[in-house]
């Protein structure tokens, strides 16, 4: 029995590579709350976004891993070499800003999940920050990564829950393919957040770096691609069930905005008393996992792009900017959440909207780079890929402008 179990774990980790890890980290506090909120407030209606989001996710992730495999360079290195320092600086500023909001979201996730057990945030947040900092700096992160990944199995609870609440599958199926557009500030806000949480700027940098680090070459790249696609689909499947579970348990009773993270635990109500426990465990694991990867990946990208020494194998004195950036993200991200009246859910959702708003900037440079023959040789983008990524850029900019316009309109009225 134990042997078979061990065998299954071995299989589980054998298929796991950069693509899968990226996809799992992608479902962090921001992801869970954004999908829960979407289901709680709009029911099955937002399900249609998942198909285009999955397509775009696959396209962007595939582009990054292809660039990493063919050029052997990270995304920030390529931006620096092809577009110069000023552009790199701007893109890095975007990345730091987006990831600072993600760090805030993840610390909010840590605070929110532990508040369910009545642990106040002035205890949970500094503790979480200290754990993250030590795990990464002491180099023990790599051994803990598998635990984080394994704990992601808790997402299966959402699948079980979605089935147990007996949702209206027919309606869910119809809404999965029927786009609904509403020119409503809150709706567009949710759309941008959903794209932003699924296809975050950091993922592109992280995945490309991971592919380079793993030493995947253009020849072996085909195998990596499958793994990337499987990861993207896994992420979307989880998102689908979170939305359905929350639609079935919250929206069907009374559509509403989530106020505190614990509200989202209702999505797991079929588990009775264990719902809170499962939800808290999932949220805590996801938040801590992402909180380890995000600052590290940001610091690496920025230092490589701007040419500073980077890496936890260096001493503080050798790579000061790397350590300051990395520590700064943790301290500021955690510090903001410590404020007692900090609206956890609102800020988590807002952070994902910021990611969505900033995404096109990164996407533009990715698409320009991957079409350079000099870099990519025969591996440049196909027309279909270019169409998808330019359409996504146009769409995200359009949605952002619509949101801004609607917000201004609202302000004028009041």
């Amino acid at each position: 029995m134990w042997k078979r179990f061990r065998y299954h774990i071995a299989i589980f980790f054998a298929v796991i590579g950069p693509g899968f890890i990226t996809a799992m980290v992608d479902n962090d506090a921001g992801g869970i709350l954004t999908y829960s909120q979407a289901g709680a407030k709009y029911g099955y209606l937002p399900l249609w976004t998942l198909l285009p989001i999955t397509l775009l996710l696959i396209v962007t992730q595939e582009m990054c891993s292809r660039m990493g495999a063919v050029t052997g360079k990270g995304l920030s290195d390529l931006i620096r070499e092809e577009f110069g320092l000023r552009t790199t600086f701007i893109v890095m500023a975007v990345l730091v800003l987006a990831n600072l909001t993600n760090m805030i979201a993840d610390f909010a996730g840590i605070a929110g999940s532990l508040e369910i057990f009545n642990i106040p945030r002035w205890v949970s947040v500094p503790l979480g920050a200290a754990i993250v900092w030590l795990l990464v700096v002491k180099g023990t992160y790599a051994s803990v990564e598998k635990i984080f990944l394994f704990a992601c199995l808790v997402y299966i609870a959402y699948i079980v829950s979605a089935i147990l609440v007996k949702p209206d599958w027919k309606e869910a199926a119809i809404y999965s393919v029927r786009p609904v557009l509403m020119l409503q500030g809150a709706y567009i806000y949710m759309l941008i957040g959903m794209v932003g949480t699924s296809i975050a700027p950091w993922m592109q940098f992280y995945l490309q770096a991971a592919v380079v680090e793993k030493g995947v070459t253009a020849k072996e790249y085909k195998e990596s691609r499958i793994e990337v696609i499987v990861g993207c689909i896994a992420m979307s499947v989880i998102a689908f069930f979170i939305i359905v579970a929350c639609a079935g348990t919250i929206y069907e009773v009374a559509p509403r905005d989530l106020q505190v993270p614990a509200d989202a635990a209702a999505g797991l109500r079929p588990f009775g008393n264990y719902a809170y426990l499962l939800f808290a465990a999932g949220l805590f694991n996801a938040s801590l996992f992402a909180a380890c990867i995000l600052p590290l990946s940001t610091a690496y990208s920025v230092c490589e792009g701007l040419g500073f020494e980077s890496g936890v194998n260096h001493r503080f004195r050798e790579a000061p900017i790397f350590y300051w950036l990395f520590t700064g993200l943790i301290v500021v991200g955690g510090g903001v959440v410590m404020w007692p009246r900090f609206p956890l859910v609102k800020m988590i959702l807002f952070s994902q909207v910021i990611n969505g708003v900033l995404l096109p900037i990164v996407l533009i440079f990715m698409t320009l780079l991957i079409n350079k023959k000099k870099l990519m040789h025969e591996w440049t983008n196909s027309r279909f890929y270019n169409f998808i990524s330019w359409a996504a850029v146009a769409l995200m900019i359009g949605l952002t402008m619509a949101l801004v316009a609607l917000s201004i309109q609202d302000m004028m009225k009041s």
């Binding site: 052997g72 360079k73 000023r86 600086f89 030493g215 070459t217 040419g307 020494e309 900017i321």
Partner: protein, 413 residues
């Protein structure tokens, strides 16, 4: 701030004036022709309207923050030249190797020195600038007056690398020759440092380095590189060059590297190798990687049981290459079976006539070729070994595992 310095960010966009003081255009790029002179800026590329013109270094009367004044205004149109190293195109924002700091860095700016030459002024490349101060200059370049930038940057710590320690990376072998890029700096580095640098580079640059440096240096460095990168480097090289490098490696390391390769590639490389090392490597390849056979190397010194200290010293003299790491001698009987181990240091305490047998360690520790890796590390720990002889089923000595092999194994865990 000394005025004889000029940063490339300042040179860029600097106005160029003719003899009458009229503006001809602004500096768009500067080029060094390393075959002519490795430090002097040979040409300035001037943009005036759509066309680019070339100003030769001997046409310049003076260079300062206020502009470049010419003494000869017959300029030729710019056409691309394979022998030119252009600062904007080939250097700025690219990675180079800092041979003194032993790392890969990214060029943010270049510092020149203004030097008088034949009644005019020329620029010599002094430093390549990295770090915050250069980043600041790049960010505000063209937005603020040059003199303000100089004053504002004072508070930021500078970080530069002397030009003579910079090794430019160029994957194209033709262009390497034209740009006169040598590997002397890399070959002088410690192999372990070179290995670290190589790990930081892209596959294409790794290939270029290993294609060009001396096979012996390449072998030493390759032994220190992380195993999966080792494989990809060897696979990218011409079989002949790969075989040259593998030949220079210690047989156990060569076998380890070849074991990482695809069967076909490793056979090809083995085929190209000279007879002697090929045989040893082939034998080592037969063993499982995590057994004593897979861990051992075949570079050891063994003598007959009745040899004396003088004999041993004689043998050592003919095996100078092994001396750096050797610490134990082995004794064999007439059937080549292992009978004793003599710590090298004991030779110095006895005169030439002493039989080696009397100097051997009291308890001989050895391991069969099939022994598991874990058990081997245990033996090293338990008996505080520096070297462990490995024997086959007839107790014939087949190889030796040394403490540095154990350290590598433990580090990998």
């Amino acid at each position: 701030m000394a005025d004889e310095r000029l940063f490339f960010t300042e040179l860029l966009g600097l106005k160029v004036f003719d003899l009458k003081g009229r503006t001809l255009g602004v500096v768009k790029d500067a080029a060094i022709v390393p075959l002519l002179d490795p430090v002097r800026v040979d040409r300035y590329l001037i943009g005036s309207g759509a066309a680019w013109l070339t100003v030769r270094h001997d046409q310049v009367r003076s260079i300062s923050l206020d502009g470049i004044h010419l003494r000869d205004e017959i300029l030729t149109p710019y056409h691309s030249d394979e022998y030119m190293l252009r600062v904007v195109r080939d250097l700025m924002d690219q990675q180079i190797i800092d041979a003194q700091g032993r790392k890969v860095v990214r060029v943010t700016d270049v510092t020149f020195e203004i030097q008088p030459e034949n009644g005019g002024e020329v620029l010599w490349v002094l430093d390549v600038d990295i770090g915050l101060r250069a980043i600041f200059r790049r960010l505000v370049q063209g937005l603020l007056p040059r003199r303000w930038i100089r004053r504002l940057q004072v508070g930021i710590p500078p970080h530069s690398i002397r030009w003579e320690f910079c090794n430019i990376l160029e994957p194209d072998p033709q262009r390497r020759l034209r740009l006169n890029i040598s590997n002397r700096l890399l070959e002088d580095m410690h192999p372990a440092d070179l290995a670290d640098i190589v790990e930081d580079l892209t596959p294409e640059h790794r290939e270029a380095i290993f294609e060009n440096i001396d096979s012996e240096v390449a072998a030493d460095a390759l032994s220190e590189v992380n195993p999966n990168i080792q494989a990809s480097i060897l696979e990218s090289l011409e079989t002949e060059k790969a075989a040259d490098i593998v030949e220079e490696m210690a047989p156990d390391e060569a076998a380890d590297v070849l074991a990482e390769l695809e069967q076909e590639t490793s056979d090809e490389i083995l085929e190209e190798m000279e007879h002697e090392p090929k045989k040893e490597v082939r034998e080592l390849l037969e063993f499982k990687e995590d057994s004593a056979g897979g861990m051992m190397n075949t570079e050891y010194i063994a003598l007959t049981e009745n040899a004396t200290v003088a004999d041993a010293i004689q043998v050592l003299k003919t095996n100078e290459a092994l001396m750096e790491t050797l610490n134990t001698l082995f004794l064999l009987d007439s059937e080549e079976r292992l009978t004793g181990a003599v710590p090298l240091a004991r030779l110095f305490l006895h005169d030439g006539a002493t039989p080696l047998r009397s100097l051997a360690v009291e308890t001989l520790i050895d391991a069969p070729v099939t022994e598991q890796q874990d058990r081997i590390t245990e033996l090293f720990d338990k008996y505080n070994l520096l070297a462990l002889p490995v024997v086959d089923e007839d107790r014939k000595l087949t190889g030796v595992i040394t403490a540095d092999d154990i350290i590598s194994v433990l580090r990998e865990k």
